[in-house]
């Protein structure tokens, strides 16, 4: 199973037939495994890595440190849920160290993101403070570098 997951994480466009060939497994086995992983939320979706900086789309991403007071009974989860339900929130992690949540927020402009923090995130009950860091350039995401490296010049040799 893990081998199949690693391949899909590398490129989710691999077809069951390709994965079957590469792993030496039966194609039906691959299909069944993927289906089961989807059902069990081991696979939580498929997406595409877009470098929006190369498009005309205006987009801003911020990384926000959030400190909170954990709630009785629910600990962090209840507040987490209240944060991640917003569409603006791309990712949310509970962190060790000097703050509690790391929230990745996307928006169309600095103002839009700032407004989200001021009007939606900061007022949530239990949130003590926020510190917003805007991302200036995305170099690498999900193991993929976004800068295009130069190609070495063509070589004619026989090895």
């Amino acid at each position: 199973m893990n081998e199949i997951l690693k391949l899909l994480e590398e490129d989710s466009r691999y077809t069951p037939a390709q994965i079957a060939a590469m792993t030496g497994k039966d194609e039906q086995y691959v299909r069944d495994t993927v289906k089961r992983c989807e059902e069990e939320h081991i696979i939580n979706g498929y997406t595409t890595l877009v470098d929006w900086d190369r498009t005309s789309e205006e987009a801003v991403t911020a990384f926000i440190e959030v400190k909170i007071t954990p709630q009785r009974d629910d600990g962090y989860d209840r507040i987490a849920r209240r944060i991640y339900q917003y569409d603006e929130v791309e990712s949310l992690y509970l962190m060790s160290g000097s703050f509690d949540f790391s929230v990745i927020v996307t928006g169309k402009s600095l103002r839009e993101v700032s407004r989200f923090v001021a009007e939606k995130l900061a007022p949530i009950e239990g949130v003590i403070s926020t510190a917003t860091h805007f991302i200036m350039k995305r170099y690498k995401d999900k193991h993929r570098a976004f800068l295009v490296e130069p190609e070495q010049e063509e070589r004619t040799l026989f090895v």
């Binding site: 391949l7 490129d11 691999y14 390709q18 590469m22 004619t156 040799l157 026989f158 090895v159």
Partner: protein
């Protein structure tokens, strides 16, 4: 006007230029062509290794090293050989060369007197024969067979031995066939060599790239250890082809003589590369594994693809090449590959480029993206359909 041709070494003039050049010439003129022709890793050298090279430059380590190479690197090589292959050498039995290629060259030049014979299994990488010729030796080619999975058999060695035999080349895991030699195969050869003075030149540049079993070196066979010159390098295991770094190991008295050739011809291997190589050996086991697993997936993909197209292909268990049979279409290997390139824009290498015994085969390198391999298979399918219709 001077007749330069006439002035030149007859040995050099007698060498055949590579027939592969025309493929690259055609390839260069094509758009959206796919090359599964060049045999090298498609990975960039892992960053921590590159960084070690860069750091050595920052520190100003830009001078020659000792002829034999950095002591730390030689120590790292012997540690590595022990750790990965259970081979024992001390650092007086190693020196660092400019790629495996130089290591092969110095082995041959150090051992041969004019007229000495060198047994070379073919199909194999193209350098052995010409290097033997330039050392005034005589290459004796032995064709390995598909039915033996392109292993060299004891009988084939026995049949090739003459009183002039000095060296036996063992190029395994093999380029272009992907063949490997297992312990039994090597023990059988050890039996044939017992009592002779024949030395073994073991080119193990693909030793880390085996699938399903670990590489067995002649050095792992007690009777062969004392007569083996081991050649290896960094190009294939660590994706470091451009760094040009390899090494040779063997009996100290031979290495001592051999080092003179390196000393006068090369001085010392590139210093930056040597520092990077220390990092590769110390911290690169994980990289080898990641790359090997990736090649293995593509190996399975290509093998299935070729067999689905109806080609007979022996399952290669080493290196990153596949050597399918393509003789059923009324074309020579060269014609097949030339037309495949011209009509379908995919470069693969005719088996004949690797010596006799390669007719009827082609080498496909699967160190290329899954996308390239799939596209190449698609185009090959179309090409084969076309050839089959014609027949």
């Amino acid at each position: 006007m001077m007749d330069y041709e006439k002035l030149m070494s007859e040995n050099v003039r007698s060498l055949q230029p590579s027939g592969i050049r025309k493929f690259f010439d055609i390839l260069d003129t094509m758009k959206d062509a796919i090359s599964l022709g060049i045999g090298e890793p498609d990975f960039v050298t892992p960053w921590h290794i590159r960084e070690a090279g860069v750091y050595s430059l920052e520190q100003g380590f830009t001078k020659y090293t000792s002829n034999a190479g950095l002591i730390r690197l030689r120590g790292a090589v012997t540690d590595y050989l022990k750790r990965r292959f259970d081979i024992d050498y001390d650092s007086s039995q190693v020196f660092i060369t400019v790629g495996g290629s130089e290591a092969i060259d110095v082995c041959i030049r150090a051992m041969l007197n004019p007229g000495d014979e060198v047994i070379i299994p073919v199909p194999s990488f193209v350098c052995y024969g010409p290097l033997v010729t330039m050392a005034n030796g005589v290459p004796v080619y032995v064709e390995t067979k598909a039915e033996n999975e392109f292993r060299l058999t004891a009988q084939e060695v026995r049949d090739a031995i003459t009183p002039r035999t000095k060296l036996l080349v063992l190029p395994y895991p093999n380029n272009p066939t992907g063949a490997i030699m297992e312990r039994d195969d090597l023990e059988a050869i050890a039996e044939v060599l017992r009592g002779t003075d024949i030395m073994v030149l073991s080119d193990e540049i693909y030793a880390e790239l085996t699938y399903g079993q670990r590489h067995v070196s002649p050095c792992n066979i007690p009777e062969l250890y004392e007569r083996t010159l081991l050649v290896n390098g960094f190009s294939k295991a660590y994706a470091m082809t451009g760094w040009r770094l390899g090494y040779v190991c063997g009996p100290a008295p031979i290495l001592k003589q051999m080092l003179k050739i390196h000393q006068y011809g090369i001085m010392s291997a590139p210093t930056t590369s040597q520092y990077a190589a220390i990092e590769a050996l110390r911290g690169g086991d994980g990289d080898i594994e990641t790359m090997r697993e990736s090649y293995d997936r593509r190996r399975k993909l290509l093998l299935k693809g070729l067999r689905d197209l109806g080609l007979s292909c022996f399952e290669p268990r080493g290196a990153f090449y596949m050597f399918p049979k393509i003789d059923g279409f009324g074309l020579t290997s060269d014609e097949f590959c030339t037309r495949f390139l011209q009509e379908e824009r995919v470069a693969i290498i005719p088996g004949t480029a690797f010596g006799s015994g390669g007719e009827g085969y082609t080498r496909i390198c699967y160190a290329s993206s899954v996308e390239n391999i799939e596209t190449a298979l698609e185009r090959l399918g179309g090409f084969l359909d076309h050839l089959r219709e014609k027949r």
